[in-house]
């Protein structure tokens, strides 16, 4: 099976042109092609994971094969050798499965959600293209290929956010997402350029082998920091997080697939792939950990005040991604990847649930919902299950993975980050249940009535909900040969269950739920009064710390101002100089033309006078000068 891993991205990659050029008019067929391709990839991924775990392929002994993509031989040794290769180890095998699973479910779900949309076929085309790029990214065996697919993933994100391109907000959001990611990719690209400068290769394994012999640690740190810019952008970490909430303008299945489960996790995946690089420079690791931790807290605080159901989930995604990055930073790749896996499942569940609600109500403001539990039983049940997982209630998936991160921070001595993580866990359960109590229970605030979604939408919800319950056990501390013995860095380690951490985080989560119930469920504490009391804080949070405004100011005033200045300079200074040369010539021509009186005698006279002078000049020496 591993030998055919390259087929995994190829199926959906072929589905895209087929849908775009052949079946675009035939909606059902398009959907079938897209779903069929991703289903094939899913089956193949299952096989790959199975073979990986049973045939002794480990993190140290991956399977790698490659074709030459572009090579410049050079006179003596290779100048450049870029390979299109496949690297299969447990890390990529797990990731493949996660991506194909979520993608498959989302595509099935989309059949219902996108029903009747004029761009139905195109949507499946884009989804296929995205899946292909994402799977390519996962399988990449070198930085170049990773960057290649990284950018393609960004493109698909752009296309899908802007799917409703007739909405100006969607068009703006897609632009913003692409440009912000471009800024991050600029850093990423520079980062692996520095690596190439030092080691003359892009290949992960060759880099890992050469890393101990790095010529210059400072340069290596620069490279690592720059590469980290990539994840900051793609995984929406502070300060390049601004695109993710706006990205919710895209169709909800897209938000579930791309902006919750897979693409935003690419940043985390990159950190895991290049973990050896980060692990070798503690200072950069620390930076990674603090950026992650800060983002987790930062995003959670913003989520407290938002009213849009998808935006709340978006901020929660940011916050959870912060967790994962923090896990990478504190040195536990296992915990980060484990949380990535479980989070992909329950966040996809939450987004699809939100999509189900939006599909029924055509409304995204939670304060205009209410009482949905009566109308949409399946959706409500699965959504609550997802929220419980996110909040970290045992024994659901989120509990185990979040716990492992907190444990890693705690046991590796990052007490500050551990406390921060616990606070975030409290905030998370609070804002999630604020959403649930407001939207699903309580009174119908705007009198909107929902209806349960069709089967093709609820079945994926149920599958994901089931997985939410069971997926945690693959990595639970008491399970032998679980997740931590597949995906690890260095030694396969097995953290002892720490009951202090477990109990604290569970209690904190329950506290959050209770508080949310008090305020929004029973309404014994007035939310308005609280907002009034801490008015300034509420305003700042509601406006997302005014970071968007700051960027907008920077772009409008500084960048566009500079551009206008350059334009003026070009048109008036540079062009002025060259036009000035032309004008001088023209002006002197206008003046000099008066020399040409047009009178023939004068012309003839001047001509012969010149002859005389010329003859004098030439002939004088010949005839012996003036004697």
């Amino acid at each position: 099976m591993i030998r055919y891993a390259w087929l995994v991205p190829l199926f959906p990659a072929l589905a895209f042109p087929v849908i775009a050029f052949i079946t675009r008019r035939l909606r059902t067929l398009s959907a079938l092609v897209g779903i069929g391709a991703i289903a094939a990839s899913f089956v193949l991924s299952l096989g790959i994971l199975w073979e990986t775990l049973t045939s002794g392929v480990t993190m140290e002994k991956p399977v790698e094969y490659a074709l030459s993509w572009l090579a410049l031989p050079g006179a003596k040794d290779w100048v450049l050798k870029i390979e299109a290769g496949v690297l299969v180890d447990p890390l990529s095998a797990v990731m493949l499965l996660v991506v194909t699973l979520v993608a498959l479910l989302v595509e099935i779900y989309s059949v219902g959600y996108m029903h009747g949309d004029p761009g139905f076929s195109v949507f499946f085309g884009y989804l296929s293209l995205f899946s292909a790029s994402m799977l390519g990214l996962v399988l990449a065996n070198n930085f170049f290929m990773m960057f290649f697919f990284w950018e393609l993933v960004g493109l698909c994100s752009y296309l899908l956010i802007g799917f409703y391109f007739h909405k100006p907000e969607a068009a703006r959001a897609s632009l913003k997402a692409f440009v912000v990611n471009r800024v991050a990719d600029f850093g990423f690209m520079l980062g692996f350029f520095y690596l190439f400068l030092m080691f003359k290769t892009f290949n992960f394994r060759e880099l890992a082998e050469a890393l101990p012999h790095a010529p210059h640690m400072g340069l290596l740190a620069v490279a690592a920091t720059l590469i980290f810019a990539g994840p900051i952008g793609k995984s929406a970490q502070f300060p390049l997080h601004v695109w993710l909430p706006d990205a919710m303008e895209g169709p909800t299945p897209v938000s579930a697939l791309i902006h919750a489960a897979t693409m935003v996790a690419a940043g985390v995946y990159l950190l895991a792939r290049a973990f050896v690089l980060f692990a070798s420079i503690p200072e950069v690791s620390l930076l990674v950990a603090y950026v992650g931790g800060f983002t987790a807290l930062f995003a959670a605080t913003i989520a407290l005040t938002q009213r849009d159901i998808k935006r709340i989930l978006a901020y929660s995604t940011m916050s959870q991604l912060g967790y994962m990055i923090m896990a990478m930073g504190v040195g536990s790749m296992t915990a980060g990847m484990f949380h990535l896996t479980t989070h992909a499942i329950f966040k996809a569940l939450l987004f699809l649930g939100a999509g189900s609600v939006i599909h029924a109500l055509h409304e995204q403001d939670i304060f205009r919902m209410g009482g949905l539990a009566k109308d949409m039983k399946v959706t409500t049940a699965t959504f609550v299950l997802g929220a419980l997982a996110l909040a970290g209630i045992p024994p659901l998936a989120g509990f185990w993975s979040k716990d492992e991160i907190l444990l890693a921070a705690y046991s590796n001595g990052y007490t500050g980050l551990y406390i921060l993580g616990t606070v975030v866990a409290f905030l998370t359960s609070f804002y999630m249940f604020r959403l649930i109590f407001v939207a699903f229970f309580g009174r119908r605030r705007a009198g909107l009535h929902g209806h349960e979604s069709p089967k093709c939408m609820t079945v994926p919800l149920i599958i994901l909900a089931t997985l939410t319950v069971v997926a945690g056990f693959i990595g639970a501390p008491f399970v032998p040969h679980g997740f931590s013995s597949w995906v690890y860095f260095g030694e396969p380690h097995h953290l002892e269950p720490n009951y202090f951490v477990m109990v604290t985080s569970t209690l904190v989560a329950i506290l959050g739920i209770y508080l949310a119930w008090l305020i929004y469920g029973k309404e014994v504490i007035s939310a308005e009064a609280l907002a009034q009391r801490w008015r300034s804080i509420h305003t700042v949070l509601y406006n997302k710390y005014y970071i968007d405004e700051a960027y907008l100011w920077f772009f409008r005033r500084v960048v566009l101002g500079l551009a206008e200045a350059f334009h003026w300079h070009d048109r008036h200074v540079v062009d002025g100089i060259f036009d000035g040369v032309g004008d001088t010539v023209r002006w002197s021509g206008y003046r000099l033309r008066y020399l040409h009186s047009g009178s023939l005698p004068v012309y003839a006279l001047v001509f012969f006078a010149a002859v005389v002078v010329f003859v004098l000049w030439v002939a004088t020496p010949v005839i012996g000068g003036i004697r």
Partner: protein, 509 residues
């Protein structure tokens, strides 16, 4: 002697010209079909030469040699190598699609296609010439029809733009001519006989002071055509004024003549001179990249955006030339090809829109993707190529150039600035590019449907030819870059060998 393929490529448009002369003006369709067939023959032959070129052997192939003015050492000799062959293919692709892009032309059709074919004959000639005399001759043949094409069929201050362009280019070519004559005479003194043959001239050892001087002449002469800042202003004005097919050829191919000349004549003959002036080129090209991109951001006319983006993108080519190593020079040649295709695509699409909407003002558009989805898709692909998205050919080019410049260890201004710093600034350029390209896409094609543009029809029929051919080229070479990379490497390798063999020369800064 085998069939003279290269001469056939050159003569196909000439025969087209002769045939069109005999077609009455009113039979417009016949004229267009004749032009299309002539350029199609060139295209097919170019593709054949491209495929048949022996990459393993490298060097100049498909040679033809005929004595022309023996007394002056002028020979009609043609041949292609790994640098010129992609350019020949580029020219063939752009002119073939350009003919289809001007299918709607109704004003003085006969003369238009005559001049267009004449122009392209000159361009082909420059790329296949192995004789400096013919190189220059064809160079001039390419410039003059441009004046008429813009002056007669243009728009938006066409007379001014035509005059400006012609003056800039002629002044530039005068500098180049002085340089060529200097080379010729110097070589004649060394060799003892007169010759314009490029390979022979390249074997001559020119002394350093001479190299510095003559390279400077070439830098100005060919630099105008690239265009290098601050000699760039003819290009946005010219692009905007020119009719669609001419814009395509102009931005797609003519600008590459400059870069090609700089590589083929400048760097190849005068490696020490190139090393001396490289820092200047490197600094100026960054101005090109950043300054051009910034200005493109605030343009209100679609064509101006693309015009300035060309200035910006050709800066990458210059950076590739300035860095003078295998990676960067391969990248520069790749970029010449890729940018040519991309910008031709852009101009074809803008021409299509302009022809139907009679305006190019971005602010008046919006939501055009509703009425013209195919045009929008083409434009998006062009835009993505422009911002260097992987999977499209421009990415390969820019990547090679950046990596080449990035890995070059040399300081400028006494170490105050390095090629690495410049490469970083150039990479910043692609961020700016992304911003302005996508902003244009957003403001032109996205947004709510505007009733005012409901009469616009989407591209179809022959209008699809440029879009499909050019997009397919970008994607093909973007996904499989070694199809062209190996060829370009075979052309660049001797060049780099020559640069490395040349003595060390301190840069101007």
């Amino acid at each position: 002697m085998s069939f003279p393929l290269l001469t056939a490529i050159l003569l196909a448009p000439v025969i087209g010209i002769i045939l069109i002369l005999f077609i009455p003006e009113r039979e417009q369709l016949t004229i267009k079909i004749t032009a299309a067939v002539a350029t199609f023959i060139s295209l097919v032959l170019s593709i054949y030469v491209y495929v048949a070129y022996d990459q393993a052997a490298g060097g100049l192939q498909f040679l033809e040699d005929r004595s022309w003015i023996p007394a002056l050492g002028v020979n009609y000799s043609v041949g292609v190598d790994g640098i010129s062959l992609p350019m020949v293919l580029l020219t063939a692709l752009v002119i073939f699609t350009g003919v289809f892009a001007s299918w709607d032309m109704t004003h003085r059709v006969k003369e238009f296609f005559l001049f267009l074919l004449m122009l392209v004959t000159g361009v082909f000639g420059v790329f296949i010439s192995r004789d400096l005399f013919f190189f220059y001759l064809f160079f001039e043949v390419a410039v003059i029809p441009m004046y008429l094409l813009i002056g007669i069929w243009g728009s938006t201050r066409k007379e001014y733009a035509a005059m400006k362009l012609t003056l800039y280019l002629l002044v530039g070519s005068a500098f180049a001519l002085i340089g060529i004559i200097a080379l010729y005479l110097y070589a004649a003194r060394q060799l003892g006989y007169l010759t314009f043959d490029i390979q022979t001239l390249a074997t001559v050892q020119y002394d350093i002071a001479f190299q510095k001087f003559v390279f400077f002449l070439f830098l100005i002469g060919f630099g105008v055509l690239v265009p290098i800042w601050p000699l760039h202003l003819w290009s946005p004005d010219g692009h905007v004024a020119a009719p669609t097919a001419v814009s395509m050829l102009h931005a797609g191919v003519l600008m590459k003549l400059g870069a090609y000349g700089l590589i083929r004549v400048g760097v190849f003959f005068l490696p020490e001179g190139a090393k001396f002036w490289a820092p200047l080129i490197a600094v100026l090209c960054i101005v090109n990249v950043v300054y051009g991109a910034m200005i493109a951001m605030v343009q209100r006319d679609l064509k101006f955006v693309i015009g300035y983006s060309s200035v910006s993108h050709m800066g990458y080519v210059l950076l590739g030339i300035a860095a003078l190593n295998t990676l960067s020079l391969s990248g520069a040649v790749t970029q010449m090809f890729a940018h040519g295709i991309m910008t031709a695509l852009f101009f074809a699409l803008v021409g299509n829109i302009y022809h139907k909407a009679h305006t190019r003002e971005i602010a008046r558009f919006g939501g055009l993707a509703h009425q013209m989805p195919r045009v929008a898709a083409g434009f998006l692909i062009g835009g993505l190529a422009s911002l260097g998205l992987p999977g499209l050919h421009n990415f390969v080019a820019e990547f090679l150039i950046f990596l080449g410049a990035f890995t070059r260890e040399q300081g400028l201004f006494g170490g105050l600035l390095t090629y690495r710093t410049l490469a970083i600034l150039a990479i910043l350029g692609i961020v700016i590019t992304a911003t302005y390209v996508l902003r244009v896409v957003q403001r032109t094609f996205f947004g709510p449907r505007k009733e005012a543009w409901d009469h616009l029809e989407d591209a179809r029929g022959v209008e699809m030819v440029p879009i499909v051919v050019l997009c397919a080229t970008l994607i093909l070479f973007g996904l499989f870059p070694s199809l062209m990379g190996d060829l370009i490497y075979s052309g660049v390798a001797p060049l780099v060998a020559k640069i490395e063999a040349a003595g060390t020369v301190g840069g101007i800064f």
